[in-house]
């Protein structure tokens, strides 16, 4: 399982490029994984045509969830909110470049879950968003 901890994941965990908060933000959403207490908040700034210009995440969690958040936010700059709604599990796994069992998959997908719930303007994040 040591291959989970590829250099890119450790590097992103220790030196994330998108860690922080945006205030004010156009879209802001947070949620946690009740199993482990990992907590992620995502803030987005979007232009008039719905294109994401800035993104930041905050909270705490394991290397997988934090690296996933950092890589995910990097990948959505310049994308539209509509495109976010169509993102799925595979997009995150491609970014991370690893395979995950069912427990750790939840860590990896938490940032996407939070992001999509924000994009849809939902009251709460659901696992259905990342199926």
């Amino acid at each position: 399982m040591d291959d989970l901890y590829r250099e890119v994941i450790i590097e992103r965990y220790k030196n994330p490029a998108y860690r922080g908060t945006l205030e004010p933000a156009d879209i802001s959403f947070e949620d946690e994984n009740p199993l482990c207490g990992d907590h992620i908040r995502v803030d987005l700034r979007v232009d008039e045509s719905g294109i994401i210009k800035e993104a930041a995440f905050s909270g705490h969690g394991c290397a997988i969830s934090q690296a996933s958040a950092d890589l995910l936010l990097e990948s959505i700059i310049g994308k539209s909110i509509e495109e976010i709604k169509h993102m799925g599990k595979e997009d995150v796994l491609d970014l991370l470049g690893i395979e995950l069992g069912p427990v750790r998959l939840k860590c990896a997908l938490l940032p996407l879950k939070v992001l999509k719930a924000g994009a849809y303007g939902l009251g709460e994040a659901s696992d259905d968003l990342v199926e």
């Binding site: 040591d2 450790i10 990992d38 290397a63």
Partner: protein, 415 residues
């Protein structure tokens, strides 16, 4: 307690009796199981006892008059006798089978609690409780308006008995605390806590989920009123646990779930409840599991609970010493002489999930998370910890492997 003690404690001999100890997690990587506080492994004798029931005696209990039904009933009740004796109870009829510790505590809250606790009555819990000894009382508080107060936990992981003394002045009806914290490893002075509770006019419930498997526990010696514990943490199967309570309490408590076996007579619009303990055991129970529970008690008696406790004391002392030498590792809980075989810690710069994942790569099974004790983690401002726990089959060599693997974690994360 042991009838035919093994005499000297032999790790090799014990390990040979647990089939799973031969398991390789991946080819060439043997299992190092340090998660017994979550659930214990099972010796061959427990597995055999359950198979024997299914292969030769399978029948429903307390119902048929045929040979198999008689045999199954005798095996089920014989196990109850063994388990009752194991915790120093005088009568097997004071021991109720449940699914687990959680259900045992819920049973008390739902039956005794709903009947005898009124609005504003005080129940004292502690900050180190497992969710199973918090949520049932929170649910009762919502329903009946009882008041909950908590014995504070000190920075070094002990119950603050000064706080307890103050709370006792408020005339509590019940004190419900763990004997052995599943996170801190703290062994609480239950005998003293029980004496003080009784002097204040309160009853005492003890969560024995971690203590009954790991040390000699006698309800008579402790002078307590309720004891809840689970088979699966003491070498037995999942799906079976027990609630022991003083006879007069069980008799005064209303039934828990309704159905077959818990009744004497049923009419279309009413029923009369069965005698204790059957009054609390509605429906066909976990028969094979009860028999397995009895076999687990036989096994522990054969080794001897003093020997089990001594072995774990040695393991814990060794583990605490070794873990404390790791730079950046912070151990929760009290000094080694006040704790049992549980060591939870945080490692600077590495999330517990990542610690556990890398240890798993070396075949080492530990638990990462809040261990069903979120308020306790809040108390120490920690979202989660990594926990290694020990039982009679663990060795100091395994602790060395744990330590070595933790250095590997530090290397991977560059901390």
């Amino acid at each position: 307690m042991a009838d035919n003690s093994m005499g000297s404690f032999s790790e090799d001999k014990i390990r040979a009796e647990f089939p799973i100890m031969k398991r390789e997690v991946k080819p060439g990587i043997p299992l190092v199981y340090l998660d017994s506080a979550a659930t214990s492994q099972k010796p061959q004798s427990v597995i055999d006892a359950m198979n024997d029931y299914y292969e030769l005696h399978n029948a429903n209990i307390h119902r048929g008059v045929h040979t198999l039904a008689e045999e199954a009933t005798a095996m089920y009740e014989n196990a109850r006798e063994k388990i009752a004796r194991f915790i120093g109870a005088e009568k097997a009829s004071d021991l109720v089978y449940t699914r687990n510790t959680t259900e045992s505590i819920n049973l008390v809250a739902f039956t005794w609690g709903r009947k005898f606790l009124k609005k504003d009555d005080l129940v004292i819990l502690s900050e180190m409780e497992h969710h199973s000894n918090l949520v049932p009382w929170q649910m009762l508080a919502e329903k009946s308006g009882i008041r909950l107060e908590f014995i504070r936990v000190t920075d070094d992981g002990l119950l603050d008995l000064d706080v307890y003394a103050k709370l006792l002045n408020e005339k509590p009806k019940l004190v419900s605390v763990t004997q052995f914290s599943n996170v801190l490893g703290t062994i609480n002075p239950i005998k003293q806590i029980a004496k003080l509770a009784h002097e204040a006019g309160a009853l005492i419930l003890v969560d024995g989920a971690q203590s009954v498997p790991h040390m000699p526990v006698s309800v008579k010696d402790l002078d307590i009123d309720f004891l809840a514990f689970s088979a699966h943490k003491m070498l037995g199967p999942t799906g079976i646990g027990a609630l022991w309570a003083r006879e007069e309490l069980l008799k005064a408590m209303p039934p828990f779930l309704g159905g077959g076996d818990m009744i004497k007579k049923v009419y279309l619009r009413s029923f009369t409840a069965n005698d204790i303990p059957h009054k609390f055991e509605a429906g066909t129970p976990s028969i094979a599991e009860a028999i397995g529970f009895g076999a687990a008690v036989d096994y522990l008696n054969k080794v001897g609970m003093d020997a089990v406790a001594d072995h774990e004391k040695a393991m814990t002392t060794y583990a605490v010493e070794k873990l404390q030498q790791i730079p950046g590792l912070h151990l929760l809980g009290p000094a080694a002489d006040k704790r049992g075989g549980v060591t939870a810690f945080e490692l600077d710069g590495v999330h517990p999930h990542d610690v556990a994942q890398i240890l798993d790569g070396d075949g080492i099974a530990v638990r990462a998370g809040h261990h069903c004790a979120m308020p306790l983690h809040d108390r120490y401002n920690l979202p989660a910890t990594t926990r290694a726990s020990y039982y009679l089959y663990n060795t100091t060599k395994e602790i060395d492997q744990l330590v070595e693997s933790l250095y590997k974690v530090k290397k991977v994360f560059g901390v």
